[in-house]
């Protein structure tokens, strides 16, 4: 649980971060979204004191971060920096062992733990442990950087544009893996990105930032359907349709769908978004698909037409 109150940071009289407050609940992911220079990266780095705040108070799991020695604080927070930041002169195994060594773990514990992570991240130990970063692909490097941040099992994880250096296809794949990674399910995560799609996919809450202040905080659905001002509205205008379809889950429009027979085979579940439903329809080239509600085990039928009509209806009602 992270609580930030009235945090500011001045550089040479210019307020890069201007009196912002936010909270991240345990196990949730908060995304700072904004254009370059909006103060999102500065905010992230204040959390592990890579940048010292000029003003304000921050607690992580009840402890004021300014009361801890910065090195000690940082060892308890996972950090994935921009462009992965892997040490080029260390092997994959050595890179992952950096924090355990700082924490003075014994060798056996370190290697057991890194092997588990490498397996989860689909980097077979025998093949990759002794490779150097320049022998890896961009996606592999990013996964090693993630393993390095997770190895000591920190409750909090900070990520600065973690997929920024990857090409769009690799980025989408790594993001998907990231979402499915069991290690991450229980972590409190703060992530910085300029990619709207990424923010919507990964964030439980999104802080939209501009010129050092938080313009709006909310769930993806709130941001896209209930913008508080022009700035928020305009920010999403380019990808509005996709974002809206992505923000709507089948569960929230369950009543508007027609029932399907309980004997049919479901290919979607109600926690997925309308966008995913459309992708699946066009991928499978089917007229209709069946959605299963995981709560009451009921089944509904969807087609392109039903998605279109419920989407429009939903929009009108807001």
């Amino acid at each position: 649980m992270i609580i930030a109150r009235n945090v500011s940071k001045e550089f040479n009289g210019i307020k890069a971060v201007n009196n912002i407050s936010f909270e991240v609940k345990e196990g949730q992911t908060l995304v700072f979204l904004g254009t370059s220079g909006c103060g999102k990266t500065t905010t992230l780095k204040i959390l592990n004191r890579l940048i010292e705040p000029s003003d304000g108070e921050i607690t992580i799991n009840g402890k004021n971060i300014l009361s801890l020695q910065p090195e000690i604080l940082r060892r308890s927070i996972g950090y994935v920096s921009q462009n992965n930041g892997l040490f080029p002169h260390y092997t994959v195994a050595e890179n992952i062992a950096i924090v355990p060594n700082l924490l003075k773990w014994d060798k056996v514990r370190t290697s057991e733990r890194s092997n588990i992570l490498l397996d989860q991240l689909k980097l077979p130990v025998t093949e990759y442990a002794n490779k150097y970063p320049d022998e890896l692909s961009g996606g592999q490097k990013q996964r090693v950087a993630l393993a390095r941040a997770l190895v000591s099992d920190p409750p909090v994880l900070l990520m600065d544009e973690p997929f920024g250096a990857l090409d769009p296809i690799t980025r989408a794949n790594v993001r998907k893996e990231f979402l499915e990674l069991p290690e991450l399910k229980s972590k409190t995560i703060v992530l910085v990105t300029h990619d709207v799609q990424e923010a919507f996919e990964l964030g439980d809450q999104i802080c939209l930032m501009d010129k050092g202040i938080i313009v709006q905080t909310g769930s993806p659905e709130e941001l896209i359907f209930k913008p508080i001002n022009e700035f928020t509205r305009n920010f999403f205008s380019h990808q509005r349709l996709q974002l809206e379809l992505g923000a709507l889950k089948f569960s929230s429009i369950w009543e508007s769908l027609t029932d399907a027979s309980s004997s049919s085979k479901p290919s979607l579940n109600s926690n997925q978004s309308l966008w995913e439903g459309m992708e699946m329809l066009s991928e499978k080239n089917e007229e209709t698909l069946v959605v299963r509600n995981s709560e009451d085990n009921s089944y509904k039928e969807v087609s392109i037409q039903t998605i279109q009509s419920v989407y429009l209806e939903n929009k009108r009602n807001r």
């Binding site: 308890s76 920096s81 462009n83």
Partner: protein, 526 residues
Amino acid sequence: MNEQLNLGQFMLQQSGKLLDQTIAHIGLTCISLLIAVAVGLPLGIWIADKKRAAWFVLGVAGILQTIPSIALLGFMIPLLGIGALPAIAALFLYALLPVIRNTYTGITGVDPAITESARGMGMNKWQILFQVEIPLAMPVILAGIRTATVINVGVATLAAYIAAGGLGEFIFGGIALNNTNMILAGAIPAALLAILLDFLLSLFQKANLKKMRKVTLILPVLLILFSSFYIIPYTSEKILAGFTPEFMGREDGYLGLKSKYKLDISTVVISDAVMYKAAFENKLDVISGYSTDGRLKAYDLVTLEDDKTIFPPYYAAPLVRQDVLQKHPELQPALDILSGVINDSIMTELNYRVDYQKQLPEKVALDFMLEKGLYKKPQTGPEAGIIRLGSKIFAEQYILINMYKMLIEGNTKLKVVTRTGLGGTKICFDALTNNEIDMYPEYTGTGLLVILKPDKKTLDPIIGNREKVFDFVQKEFSDQYKLSWLKPIGFNNAYALMMRRSQAQSLRIKTISDLKNYLSNENHQH
């Protein structure tokens, strides 16, 4: 001259010396490099995040680099004396810039994303420095150390000028003696040394980023190992001699001292520019100087009598083209006026005024002529011709040609133009035979050994005798070159061994034989 050795034979014959010099050379290079790394590396790291300090430190190191190496060695002598210490200090200063600059460049060139992620993981300042920044900067730092090494191997040859040993002893001895084998015996190993050390360091550099952590450990160990080769060439002997590279290799020099006097003395090689001062400052006890050098007086040194006459006489006399003498018969009587007027101590005194009191040679010459009543105002009236006077580049020659100018212009209707500063013997002599000058003052010994170069059979019976040498050169120059040696001026600017007056008196040493006896008694007592 007689038997010519080829390079291989020479190096084989001198292998003992060559080995000593090479070891000294490696030692000088590596010790200075080690200190430069020990100082430059932390300094480079320190300035890496301090822009203003970086500007200042790099500026100072850059200025040091621009000081000519021989001058830097010269500056070191008043501070640190002669020998290994000032040489190492000078080499250290030379190696400093490449080490500091490359450390600075290497450290500041480390990708900030990497150091930031190191910080973000909780590494402290020192852990980042030793585990991240230094290993990643190591290829650039090593490149700097390589540059410094090559510079130092080169500059270390100059250490021979201040009695620190090294391969420069052969190189400068060879240059002074016009002995190509000797030059190459020093220059080739020096070049190979530079290539070898550079190659060894390049292996480290290519050891790739991944093994840099090991390199960081191995390098200092190797440097210390190489440095330990070097035993500083100071002995505990009571009497230490410093001889010029030229003197060390001459039969009428150190070789003759050994063979004719059986002189057994510990020696270091040193440049004549600093030799006299080093003797004055008790750094050396015996030196090889020129008997009329002004510094003899300045530093209160005395010459030891050459009682077995190994040093040939170097009587100065005008050397004139014969056709000029025939064309202007009034010239020779004018030049002869100076004959027998200046003895050793007078010449020393005159040189002292120029070399040490920094008076102009013209003034010293004029004062002397006035004092002796030899000065006459230049004659007026139609001129009878022009005489071109040449001189080598040192004070004594400048003084002499100014005197000759006054004598010629005062006693004849001839006019004089001077061509001073004609390098060495060879340049003056060639200018004379090529009709570019008409006369210059030359020394009998030089005429004998540098120009005529007779074989040992001819040389042995005449070399110790003033008249015989003079007669021989006069006849040979006349026959071979149509040049005339006029009457000698009087002084003998020969090689001589010199000691501090106080020490020579307290040890009762007046001749070279006395020195030899004193040394052998000392050795027996040990």
